[in-house]
């Protein structure tokens, strides 16, 4: 076992892990952060996405030991005080049903909007390619993000 220290949602957290534990499992099972979801476990579905040093990554393909001394943000960190405008838009546009894909998509798009506050539909599609949603057909997700992009909210 190794002790690692992660800046998780703006709070330093220390935890003992095996080398072979994934970041996803440690976040969910040892640190109690449940928004990253375990979907395909091979990087295809995007449900386990977290922001690592500000960039969306697949936490199912990262070892917890690799995250030692790095910054991790999950949806819990985005909405510590109140929901972000993007989260509000997801509610307004009914952009999720089961909710399994929503944390990953919200994190990916949060990063996109930081780099590019007014993305086109094409740029939005590119940023969430690799995030599978089986409920919505994606249209309400695009609508919510486009509303933010156009500054409606």
């Amino acid at each position: 076992m190794k002790e690692i220290s992660i800046n998780l949602n703006f709070e330093i957290r220390s935890v003992w892990v095996e080398s072979s534990e994934t970041l996803l499992d440690v976040l969910r099972d040892k640190l109690g952060v449940k928004s990253p979801k375990c979907g395909c476990e091979r990087g295809d579905c995007g449900a386990c996405t977290v922001l690592l040093d500000g960039k969306p990554v697949r936490s199912c393909l990262i070892l917890a030991v690799e995250a030692d001394k790095h910054d991790i943000i999950t949806v819990e960190g985005l909405s510590a005080d109140k929901l972000s405008a993007l989260q509000e838009a997801f509610i307004q546009y009914n952009s999720f049903q089961c909710g399994f894909c929503a944390p990953g998509i919200i994190l990916a798009v949060t990063e996109l909007l930081q780099k590019n506050p007014h993305p086109s539909l094409l740029e939005i599609k590119e940023s969430i390619a690799g995030h599978l949603c089986r409920c919505t057909g994606y249209t309400p997700i695009f609508d919510a993000i486009l509303a933010i992009s156009k500054g409606d909210k």
Partner: protein, 299 residues
């Protein structure tokens, strides 16, 4: 829950440490950069290393820089870094196109170019560009440095010239002449995390020199010398493009797999080569070309 297979993890701070570890552990050790292939392989029990050597804290390996007339891409450089580098976009458009088609943003933020060619699956998107830009692969070990031309690198699916005690430390490419350009066309079934059903890289210059390479269409990615020989010295014309397309079937050895049939791969390759040649010429003439739009665009 940990991965079923247990291993040790090292995060060395210098090249010397990496090479020492590799020399001691050899094929029991695996280099960990992005991990997007490696962790999947361990999860699926295709590999069972005893030690993972994380190279992400070795500063030089994370850099793209220019050395004279060469560009040097370190082993830790991710596809996102390639996409954000102005030198790649302006001088190596085919590599930029390829990087943009690799999986999804979340994967590109971790996955490395070096890892892509070490995994060496037949469909690897970066290979046609590296073959057309005539890259050199640098492999370091305690016994020294080997510089391997990319066209010798791939041996078979998932097999390369890399030895167990070696680290692929960097990939070097000569800066192409100003009067040349390239394009990479990838056919996948959907955007985000799909492997290529077929990939074609096309390079040309204003003096009618051509370089053509493909992936996912043979056991290893390859140049197509017979097509290059037909094209070289000739300006593109409808008749020439038809003759080039007629050579496609003999230039590739596709298989039928879960992603497409052999027959479809042959058919679509003719289409891709024709559209790719015209698109590369358009790019050479200064037009903006979006490769994804050439094959049906976004789903």
């Amino acid at each position: 829950m940990a991965l079923a297979h247990d291993f040790d993890y090292a995060r060395p701070q210098s090249m010397a440490e990496v090479l020492d570890l590799l020399n001691t552990h050899r094929d029991k050790a695996k280099i960990l950069a992005g991990g997007t292939d490696l962790i999947v392989s361990i999860k699926e029990a295709m590999m069972a290393p005893e030690l993972l050597i994380d190279i992400k804290e070795i500063p030089d390996l994370g850099q793209i820089h220019r050395e004279g007339e060469q560009i040097v891409i370190g082993a830790g450089v991710t596809f996102t870094q390639l996409l954000e580098d102005p030198l790649i976009k302006s001088h190596f458009p085919m590599l930029w196109d390829a990087a943009a088609t690799v999986a999804s943003t979340g994967i590109r933020n971790r996955a490395t170019l070096a890892g892509n060619i070490c995994s060496a699956v037949p469909s690897l998107d970066s290979a046609p560009a590296l073959l057309c830009y005539e890259a050199t692969v640098h492999c370091e070990s305690k016994s020294g440095l080997r510089q391997i031309p990319i066209h010798e690198w791939f041996l078979a699916p998932r097999k390369t010239l890399l030895q167990p005690d070696e680290l692929l430390s960097k990939i070097e490419m000569p800066i192409p002449p100003r009067n040349s350009t390239g394009i990479y066309l990838k056919l996948g079934r959907y955007n985000g995390e799909d492997l290529a059903q077929a990939g074609w890289g096309i390079w040309l210059d204003t003096e009618n020199h051509y370089r053509i390479a493909h992936c996912a269409l043979a056991p290893i990615p390859k140049r197509a010398p017979e097509i290059e020989a037909l094209l070289n010295g000739n300006a593109l014309s409808d008749a020439l493009i038809e003759r080039a397309a007629a050579l496609v079937e003999s230039a590739i050895k596709p298989i039928t797999d879960i992603r497409s049939s052999r027959e479809y791969r042959v058919h679509i390759s003719r289409v891709m080569l024709k559209r790719g040649l015209l698109a590369a010429r358009a790019r050479l003439q200064g037009e903006e070309v979006e490769p994804k739009a050439l094959l049906g665009g976004f789903a």
